[in-house]
Amino acid sequence: MASQTVTKHRQIGLTDEQVLEMYTIMLKARRYDERALLIQRSGKTAFHISGIGQETAQVAAAFALQKQHDYFCPYYRDYGVVLSAGMTLHELMLLSFVKAEDVNAGRQMPAHFSHRKHHIVTGSSPVSTQVLHAVGIALSAVMDQEDRVAFTSFGEGSSNQGDVHEAFNFAGVFKLPVIFMCENNQYAISIPAHRQVAGRVVDRAAGYGFPGVRVDGNDPLEVYQAVKEARERAVRGAGPTLIEAMLYRISPHSTADDDMIYRTKEEVEYHKEQDGIQKFRAYLLECGVLDEELDRSVNEEVMRELNEATKYADKAPYPSPEDALKHVYAEDGGGI
């Protein structure tokens, strides 16, 4: 499948199978995203928040980590992260449709991920709280002398919350195995990054005595390599790393937002052309990991899975009303 010369992905330790899987998951994330929007528009779901334009960085980061071993504290656009960590389109669709079988049993908005089996930590809406949770998870890894890391991501707007600073400092003082990834998609709702962030997010790491790395978020191999190195640093006790992935939020903030109030179509179109998935596809074609036929079948398989997931979730029942009363506290008091 691969070309004769040593490809870039092999040089950084990724097999052909892995890059193909990465590509497949990027597609899943993209197709899921497009579908979720349609479903929302049709009135069947209440809300969608899109990750389009960020899938490459998300999938690449997650592939540099160890599934069901490392912990993931993603944020709400991280479809690429959670799909890489082990969630299925089936599960994402149940989450979108807020049905009883959803991990959250229909309690939370779409994009509020949780999956304990896959080490995906339950998320909330108030931004950046998860950044401290990741630090706590990293602390527990050190206490138990386990070689796991905690990965957390957040937007550049959210990087301004006090919790992020407190997390950086805490992790820096104890040299904890945590990877902070800022997905800098240029906007926090309507506010462009330069009106939101003084200086550069990546430069903040130095103030806490750990490295900050800025990467092209549309280049999955660059992201992968940065996260992989960060993971290596983390497990050898050298402490946290901050990665700032430069991206662009292609969609409006959410289905409740009209982005044409604060940016132009041209600007968005320009960035659409930089699409990381298309670039990655071209790369894979070029180095022979992918050909048109394989691409077609990969795409078909993704669509099949998506269609099934959609159909199932659409028909699945809502939670029963009284379920609202369940699980405020442990049923048996916890008893640990």
Partner: protein, 337 residues
């Protein structure tokens, strides 16, 4: 449209609760150049459209887009207020007010008291709260009880466009920090007559929304509308409900509460916030302290159940939220007691 009030003809316009809030802000900004709004995305109009068009009118300094950091929004507002500004700090959703809890509780609420009146902190914090449907756990909360009972704060939660405008103006002319809770469901669902002329609604005064003789229902915010609707329904069955809208949660209008309770001797308190530790508990406690002998039956509370917040699925949401049907059933029960 016009109506006669204390002998003077006021020109009135029907407007939404949301428009009322916007017009209160705009008029106060015209009136006093120290008034300004700051918050996330307020420039484009805010995610609720409360500040729509205001940046064009007042410039981006007075309709100030801030970084995404609630403690900063409130803390900066406090600093500005201490030196003579009159900031309106917008919290995008009331669910996101907690990062600012320290600035609100430790600072805003205590600045006048701790300095023995040397300094004051006249900020207004606007926080859209409550469920609109499809907001889930974190875009639907009623966090008023967290701040209720913090002396030094004033807390307002209007149910009508008239009150929203009048109370927001009063808040903006007040010398102390006011938490202004705007029910998101009221924004577009509620419209009523609002005078063209400048007016205020005094902070600390409840309003009788309906006179009645059989039962007394005390509420605030969106549930006032459920109560009024239910009152209409039970009226047909011969139950006459007296309805009091608290409007201000802190300081509570104790005389109005006691009067309303004593009027019928059968009291129900309705709010969307969960029951335990809610504002309704204090209302019940006040009544049982001062009007026990005038109570014919136990004080009832109809509130959301004691779970963290409303679920996203429609089934969960319906189960959780008070509505006119639930209020009506409870009214019947109360009347029959």
């Amino acid at each position: 449209m016009s109506m006669l009030k204390t002998g003077v003809a006021y020109k009135m316009a029907i407007m939404t609760y949301l428009e009322a809030i916007r017009s209160a802000m705009s008029e106060e900004m015209e009136r006093d150049e120290n008034v300004f709004v700051l918050g996330e995305d307020v420039g484009k109009g805010g995610v609720m459209n409360a500040t729509k068009g205001m940046r064009d009118r007042f410039g981006e300094r007075r309709v100030l887009d801030t970084p995404l950091a609630e403690s900063a929004i409130v803390g900066v507002a406090i600093g500005a207020a201490m030196v003579g500004k009159k900031p309106i700090a917008e919290i995008q959703f009331a669910d996101f007010i907690f990062p600012a809890a320290n600035q609100i509780i430790s600072e805003a609420a205590k600045i006048r008291y701790r300095s023995n009146n040397d300094w004051q902190c006249p900020i207004v914090i606007r926080a859209p709260y409550g469920a609109t449907g499809g907001g889930g756990l974190y875009h639907s909360q009623c966090p008023e009880a967290v701040f209720f009972g913090t002396p030094g704060l004033k807390i307002v939660a209007p149910s009508s466009a008239y009150d929203a405008k009048g109370l927001l103006k009063a808040a903006l002319r007040d010398g102390d920090p006011v938490l202004f809770f705007e029910h998101k469901k009221c924004y577009l669902y509620v419209s009523d007559e609002v005078p063209d002329e400048d007016y205020t609604v005094p902070i600390g005064k409840a309003a009788v929304k309906r006179e009645g003789d059989d039962i007394t229902v005390i509420s605030y915010g969106m549930t006032v509308h459920h109560v009024l609707k239910a009152a209409e329904e039970v009226q047909k069955e011969g139950i006459s409900a007296h309805v009091l809208d608290l409007r201000t949660l802190q300081p509570l209008d104790v005389p109005a509460i006691l009067e309303a309770a004593a009027k019928t001797g059968k009291v129900m308190i309705v709010h969307e916030d969960n029951k335990t530790g809610g504002v309704g508990a204090e209302v019940a406690a006040i009544i049982s302290e001062h009007k026990l002998y005038e109570l014919d039956v136990p004080i009832m509370r109809l509130c959301a159940p004691d779970v963290p917040a409303v679920g996203m699925a429609p089934t969960l949401e319906k189960f959780y939220l008070p509505n006119a049907d639930k209020v009506r059933d409870a009214m019947r029960l109360l009347a029959e007691m």
